[in-house]
Amino acid sequence: MKKLEPLIHSEKKLLIPYITPDFPKRGTTEILVKELDKLGIRAIELGIPFSDPLADGPTIQQSSLKAIENGCTLSRVLDLASWISAETSLAVILMGYVNPVLQYGTERFFTEASEKGVQGLIIPDIPQDEAEPFVHLGKKYGIAMIFLVAPTTRPERIRQINQNSTLLSYCVSMNGITGNQTLNPEFLKRTLASVDQNHPKPYVVGFGLSTPQDIRTVLSLSKGAVVGSALIRAMAPFDDAGKAAAAGIDFLKPLTGVLNEF
């Protein structure tokens, strides 16, 4: 957590891109992260591709299937995380569904992830009810467990999430799956008002963010904004790793511009 902790405790807001690794082609992620580093991005979410991502819309589903086709296994993701940690200043947060982790061996996964510099972990299908082993292993291996808070989450549960999340939590902006381009600022404000009352730790907000105005809204209310599907959509049309990465950077530039307003 050495890289993540200062980022969370600093005054600066965060823009966190979600990246499907090896998408649309092998080699894309390496080019992309080097450029992100130059753009002033400080942390990324790196996906662990899964065949049946329940909380994701078609964009992330399809990019995950493509990544799997491209040979992106969990050990490949860990190797990428290690490379990114060595070659860039980015803090790597892994985000993926529980089944590939279970099959890899949960403790083996935590051991290797911590050796490879992984800073944090988000598993959208591990709610508080199933969280205990992950909370324990996160502490043991120094990896921040970042749990989700949803608009439907009740106050006492938000307090429990605040307690179990290591440095920060991840607040879902809407009732829905990723990739909906319908951020509703009024709904978000109401949701975050309840989170703020029960969740003293910082949190980032994600799901459905795509425009500079979305980022502005979210950063005015929270520690950081996560952009996933919209970035993947920008990269998807390109067959060439360099071109796909360039399209991703072109998409992100106006969004990073918003960081200077804070």
Partner: protein
């Protein structure tokens, strides 16, 4: 009495299986259903309404019918009885569950109902109860299943439901379930998800089992009346496992006397890649919110199942079955596409009963392995559904 009947535990687990591996958004919704169900369970008026609908609308109790010509064909004085779930309104056991769940949805004031379907039987059963109660109904169905179960697609539409075609992944039941769950995540406030089998996150495996256990309760009563005691063997096909759980569950305390056998779909054969024999060849993993046996590759990606029968074409299985397998309380075996098709012909011609492809798997195993059941025994087969929906497949596959 064996205490496994008290499962699941308070957190929704059957030993290491089950649980709630779902996005946070759905947690309060799943909790709300659990609380409402636990209240309803203690409310005699709820069961009065349930039982009244099962009797006067669904047509229960279904007969336990002695299939004498079929028994003679099997030989060895093995007497076969069929639990005639095929005679239910809408043609399968699925409606036992949808009647119960729609009553729960009503209690909770939910006006929008969603469901997934494979064979279309659960979709039809859901569309039916929605029509009965005037509720909006949306059914997710894989593109491949829409083709092979065309009559049921039309039935759902006739009943006023909207059928949404699922084109992601396998284009069958697995992905229809993914899409239904995604819909639910997007509409947690007004929507009730009527899941179609004993699968998914807690409390569904428990609720669906309880509603389906009417099959086993009737079977016990009828066995005493007609066989003069409990049967020696009970067979049921296992897709998600709801018709099997329904007939097995009341019999689990007697599993030292009654052999319980679940038959999975072996597709082209369990030595090929094309099968749906989850309990036979799967490994524990998480699908659709539950820890259970799962067909998956070494990296934990879910594999695409195959069965000629759309209702068995599923890479997971109910978590309670996973537990019953590990505890050796139920034996799980399998039958291939070909064996099931053969059983369809045999049953049609010995008894004048055209079974659903799913149900034919249970009979198929018995026909292929008569030696696995002792002579002079009483055997009950859960005939979970009728074959009307499969006529297209039969016309294509059976050269008459």
């Amino acid at each position: 009495m064996i205490s496994y009947q008290n499962f699941p535990d308070k957190t929704g687990h059957f030993g290491p299986y089950g649980g709630k591996f779902i996005p946070e958004t759905l947690i309060p919704v799943a909790e709300e259903i659990e609380q409402e169900y636990l209240k309803a369970k203690e409310d005699p008026a709820f069961w009065d309404e349930f039982n009244d609908l099962l009797k006067n609308y669904v047509g229960r109790a279904t007969p336990l019918y002695e299939a004498k010509r079929l028994s003679a064909k099997l030989g060895g004085n093995r007497r076969i009885w069929l639990k005639r779930e095929d005679l239910n309104h809408t043609g399968a056991h699925k409606i036992n569950n949808t009647v119960g769940q729609v009553l729960l949805a009503n209690r909770m004031g939910k006006k929008r109902i969603i469901a997934e379907t494979g064979a279309g039987q659960h979709g039809v059963a859901t569309a039916t109860v929605c029509a009965l109660f005037g509720l909006q109904c949306i059914v997710y169905m894989g593109e491949e299943d829409i083709h092979r179960q065309a009559p049921n697609v039309y039935r759902m539409k006739l009943l006023g439901a909207e059928v949404r075609t699922v084109t992601s992944g396998s284009r069958t039941l697995k992905d229809a379930t993914n899409e239904a769950i995604r819909d639910w995540v997007s509409n947690p406030d007004d929507t009730y998800y009527i899941i179609g089998s004993v699968v998914g996150m807690h409390p569904f495996p428990m609720i669906v089992r309880d509603f389906q256990s009417v099959i086993g309760k009737e079977t016990i009563q009828q066995s005493y009346d007609q066989i003069g005691g409990l049967p020696d063997v009970v067979l049921a096909c296992v897709g998600g496992g709801s018709n099997a759980m329904g007939i097995f569950y009341p019999l689990i305390p007697y599993s030292d006397q009654v052999r319980l056998i679940g038959v999975e779909a072996a597709g082209h054969g369990i030595d090929t890649q094309a099968h749906a024999a989850t309990l036979t060849l799967g490994k524990p993993g998480v699908i659709h919110g539950a820890m259970t046996y799962l067909l998956q590759d070494a990296a934990g990606q879910v594999q695409i199942a195959h069965s000629i029968s759309a209702g068995l074409d599923y890479p997971g299985v109910g978590p309670e079955h996973a537990w019953l397998k590990d505890q050796k309380l139920v034996r799980y075996v399998h039958a291939t596409d070909r064996e099931a098709l053969n059983a369809v012909t045999v049953l049609s011609r010995t008894e004048g009963i055209i079974p659903a492809l799913e149900s034919a798997h249970a009979l198929a195993w018995l026909l292929e392995h008569p030696d696995q059941v002792a002579e002079n025994t009483a055997i009950v087969i859960n005939l979970s559904g009728r074959g009307d929906k499969d006529l297209g497949t039969y016309m294509k596959e059976l050269n008459l």
